[in-house]
Amino acid sequence: MSTQQQEPETQEAPEDPEMKGTQSPQERRLEEKESGLTEDADSAGDLEGETVHLKVFRYDPEVEGKQEPRFDDFHVPFEKGMTVLDAVMYARDEYDSSLTFRHSCRQAVCGSDAFFVNGKQRLGCKTQIVELEQPVRIEPLPHQEVVKDLVVDMDHFYDQMHAVEPYFQDEETPAAADLEEQRQSPENREKIKMSSRCIWCGACMSSCNIAAGDNEYLGPAAINKAYKFAMDDRESEAIKEHRLRILEQEHGVWRCQTQFSCTEVCPKDIPLTEHIQELKREAVKKNLKFW
């Protein structure tokens, strides 16, 4: 169902709470809201021209009228420099406080607000509205279950990230108290630089058809995380081999069909496909030694 809003709706006080019988205040409020919204729709158009038209995916398992997913329309006054995140925040603060999405840093470092915007996985805070065709269609990330509105369940993504033993492993580090660091060449640091930029936004995983089909596929982000460690010279050869073993299991690197969509959507411009391919070759090289 489509609801067009111009003004923050004013909530009328309920006439007589006692009369409503079994209806909970929440339900009543919702009903009022629904009717309020449709009325507002008539006055739409005043701000046309300088407003941004958003179509936002809505779903809430608990709230009547939202159990069946729908798109809501919002018309948000445009301001220079406005990002998709700014626009949905405005819609939430001014029109509908139940509009739900994750966000925090507003500067592309926390990875909270990857949405599916006009058919592509993008970070809300890093996407300028002017670059998009209107109406701007904003949906939760595909291939993940929707918890509510734009919020998806990230648990599976986190599980995959954790599955690659994402922590530095080396027993022979010098004692910290001696203030003695492990040496690493600037070249080696440069090699892992891009892979270390991942902000766990999940855009890549969401864009990958293979990850969608095979739930156990580690996915580009987790493989990239493993790449960061496997390519770091500070870890020993033995540990590198251990890492490759994790990566080359059935649902590891071999699953990747080089679709490149992960690389295309990554907001941190990490060359994911390249990293995955490099690991495939590393794994093959290592296995050849066995024969």
């Binding site: 599955a163 073993r245 699953r255 093959v284 296995n287």
Partner: protein, 122 residues
């Protein structure tokens, strides 16, 4: 999570063979196309002509290898595609079995055909 690491499967072997057969196939397939569509037109194929070609042992071997490589490449490709789509457990084992039987049958039949063509059996 733990069981994912439990067994060491050189998963790269299948992947590598898929690439190697692909590289091989490029060469023979191109040759094959050329032979049977440009040099000799398919419409003019006769048993005699085929027999003449197949009696050359090099050509014969190439075709048999072509068959084996093609079958492996194709069947392995199909299997991978299914596994990629999340085929697991018993169905996966069944599919693997069926595919193996089908490819063995295909290769056996193909070799028999080839032998017949080369006139080695009747």
């Amino acid at each position: 999570m733990a069981e994912r690491y439990s067994s060491f499967t050189p998963g790269g072997t299948g992947w590598l063979l898929q690439r190697l057969t692909a590289a091989f196939l490029v060469v023979v397939l191109a040759f094959h196309f050329f032979q049977l569509h440009f040099v000799n037109h398919a419409a003019d194929v006769t048993f005699m002509g085929t027999q003449a070609r197949m009696e050359n042992i090099g050509y014969f071997l190439a075709m048999v290898l072509f068959l084996i490589a093609g079958t492996f490449h194709g069947v392995n490709g199909v299997y991978n595609a299914l596994v990629n789509q999340g085929l697991t457990g018993t169905p996966k084992k069944v599919v693997l079995g069926v595919l193996i039987i089908a490819s063995v049958a295909l290769i056996a039949q193909g070799i028999w055909v080839a032998l017949a063509m080369s006139g080695m059996i009747y």
